[in-house]
């Protein structure tokens, strides 16, 4: 595993980026130059270009963009981890039950997830977020309510194909309860698919959360949400180029990190589709 890791540059890059994101979030306060600038500001220093004092420049309020980015990392992690966690908690059990049993409710559950997949995720998320009002917990709710069917799909398909495996049939024959079979036998076998799906899902969630923030449906100001920071920068666009650049790059990097990590994990964990040579 370690040897693969060192050779698979994509996986390694992804891992490094994600680790950096987590570190930035944990040590946001000591790392930042102006920890007070998350909520406070300094109007005399409005729209300064990047320099020695303000590494990535300042925003329309005169707050240090670098410091706000660091605290924004916390928000990004908070939103994507909780939204993904809720989506996993809804999606995985649904997929397990629907895949394990072959009854009318299996079809019903899959049809319900199909309906959710039939409408563009971001559209539904916008509608829900707008309905509930701009707040972090509403963003989380909107994203998890729209993204869970992806896990249901994956888990359903994998569970279905496992259903006829000898070790599952053996467990059933030995009198294990359905719950026990699902949790102790099926779930561990499909864990790698869930992990891969979740890693890539993190990237998608971050992008969607940023879009909501950009449309003004995310956390209210002055929260240092990356998408909102980009939205704020629009009216200063030709002059204050650094204003939009920094948070945009941050999103790009982090989403890329999760995508690379997910792809790398898939190649490593799933020998069926491992690349030749």
């Amino acid at each position: 595993m370690l040897r693969r890791l060192s050779r698979d540059r994509a996986l390694l890059t992804g891992l490094v980026i994600v680790t950096l994101l987590v570190l930035a979030a944990i040590f946001a306060a000591p790392l930042s130059n102006f920890p007070g600038h998350v909520t406070g500001f300094d109007p005399s220093q409005r729209l300064r270009p990047p320099g020695e004092t303000y590494w990535l420049g300042t925003d329309r309020m005169g707050a240090d963009i670098y410091s706000r980015l660091l605290f924004g990392a916390r928000l990004t992690i908070l939103i994507s981890v909780s939204a993904t966690a809720v989506a996993v908690l809804i999606g995985v059990p649904m997929g397990l039950v629907a895949g394990y049993y072959d009854r009318w409710f299996s079809d019903l559950m899959m049809r319900v997830s199909d309906v959710f997949l039939a409408v563009p995720q971001i559209v539904l998320a916008i509608a829900i977020a707008q309905t509930l009002g701009p707040a972090i917990q509403n963003v989380i709710l909107a994203l998890s309510a729209t993204y869970w069917p992806f896990w249901t799909r994956v888990v359903y398909a994998e569970t279905r194909s496992l259903r006829n495996e000898v070790f599952i049939e053996a467990a059933i024959a030995m009198g294990a309860s359905p719950l026990r079979v699902m949790v102790l036998h099926v779930l561990p076998s499909i864990a790698s698919s869930i992990i891969v799906r979740t890693t890539i899902g993190m990237g998608a969630t971050i992008l969607a959360a940023a879009s909501l923030g950009f449309l003004g449906l995310g956390a209210p100001p002055p929260t240092p949400e990356w998408g909102r920071m980009i939205a704020e920068s629009r009216e200063f666009l030709p002059q204050a180029w650094w204003y939009a650049t920094a948070p945009g790059l941050a999103i790009l990097l982090v989403v890329m990190g999760f995508n690379l990590l997910g792809d790398g994990l898939r190649d490593t964990l799933d020998p069926r589709i491992r690349r030749g040579s």
Partner: protein, 333 residues
């Protein structure tokens, strides 16, 4: 025959799916804390006026009844009156549809024209410099926030190079509508100047939508070609000494493109969804901007109309893709 059965079965699933979709959107839009009648009448309107509006739009009825009414109306092609524009939602959607379709079509055509060859070539020249460059672009294209990409393009092409307009669809009025596509209408009317103007307005939103779409297509094409290259029949054909170009251009490509086709359907759906954000940034007067405005206005008839409409397009696309795949892959017949 089996093909027809497949199509029929899929079509039969459409009404329940659409009904489920309506239910979801209806539930979401009716827990809106804001009172739509109040929004419509205005902050300071007298109580009686608000109540009159409420009755007029049936907002005083119990929710299940409202839902049943809504569904029966939709079945008859009536999506209700937009609370904001005061026009039938169906008319609003039809009016804005050409702008979005024109944008989406241009974007998907560009994405396919660039993505397919790039995907094929980078698979055939695996680990070459070109392959690495394409992969980096692909990875970045999939990780970029669409609105940020839109702004970067505006910054570069509109503000610094002055090549393209910052936003909008045309200056002044568009050409007299025939199809509603400005570029096509201008061409039909032989108005070259309008055509190029429309094209200049189209460029940036099209690029913004096309880049992530292209990235997805490149990715799937590349993986598909590599996958087919490893298959047994390609080995057999090599072992029997068939010319490599025949194996690649006839047998490998055909097999790989069937897989990509599925993706193009999905990509087109995502593109429509992406239009909500991208159209907003470019003030493109299409469905996306309409949806965004109606959400901000708590215009729930319009939200439901849009969502239902996009959902139907999504489902329709999936149906088409399934059928196309069955037609192209003899095993599905």
């Amino acid at each position: 025959m089996r093909l027809l059965a497949l199509a029929l079965r899929r079509c039969l699933w459409m009404p329940p799916t659409l009904l489920g979709l309506t239910l979801i959107v209806f539930s979401v839009s009716h827990i809106i804390p804001a009172d739509p009648a109040r929004v419509l009448a205005g902050e300071n309107a007298p109580y009686e006026q608000v109540e009159a509006l409420r009755r007029k739009f049936g907002l005083d009825k119990p929710l299940p009844e409202q839902f049943v009414h809504y569904v029966s109306d939709v079945v008859h092609g009536n999506m209700g009156i937009s609370l904001y524009t005061q026009r039938p939602v169906a008319d609003d959607l039809v009016e804005r549809l050409p702008a979005t379709v024109e944008l989406a079509l241009f974007a998907i055509v560009l994405a396919v024209l660039l993505g397919l060859p790039l995907g094929v070539v980078s698979a055939l020249r695996r680990n070459s410099l070109l392959d690495h460059v394409v992969r980096v672009i692909t990875i970045a294209g999939l990780a970029m926030a669409a609105f940020w990409l839109a702004m970067l393009l505006q910054l570069l092409f509109s503000m610094h190079l002055n090549l393209t307009p910052v936003q909008g669809r045309i200056n002044g009025w568009g050409p007299d509508p025939i199809t509603g596509f400005y570029t096509l209408d201008a061409l039909i009317r032989g108005d070259g100047e309008t055509f190029f103007t429309a094209l200049r307005y189209l460029t940036l939103p099209m690029l913004t939508l096309a880049i992530p779409a292209m990235a997805t297509i490149v990715r799937f094409t590349r993986a598909g070609v590599l996958n087919v290259m490893r298959s047994q029949f390609v080995f057999y054909q090599a072992a029997m000494g068939l010319p490599r170009r025949v194996v690649i251009w006839k047998y490998i490509l055909r097999a790989a493109l069937i897989g990509t086709l599925t993706q193009i359907g999905l990509v087109f759906g995502n593109l429509l969804a992406g239009a909500v954000v991208v159209e907003t940034v470019f003030s493109w007067p299409g469905l996306g901007t309409y949806a965004y405005n109606s959400i901000l206005q708590s215009d729930y008839n319009a939200i439901m109309g849009f969502t239902l409409f996009t959902g139907s397009v999504f489902i329709g696309m999936n149906l088409l893709v399934d059928i196309a795949q069955a037609v192209l892959d003899p095993r599905g017949r």
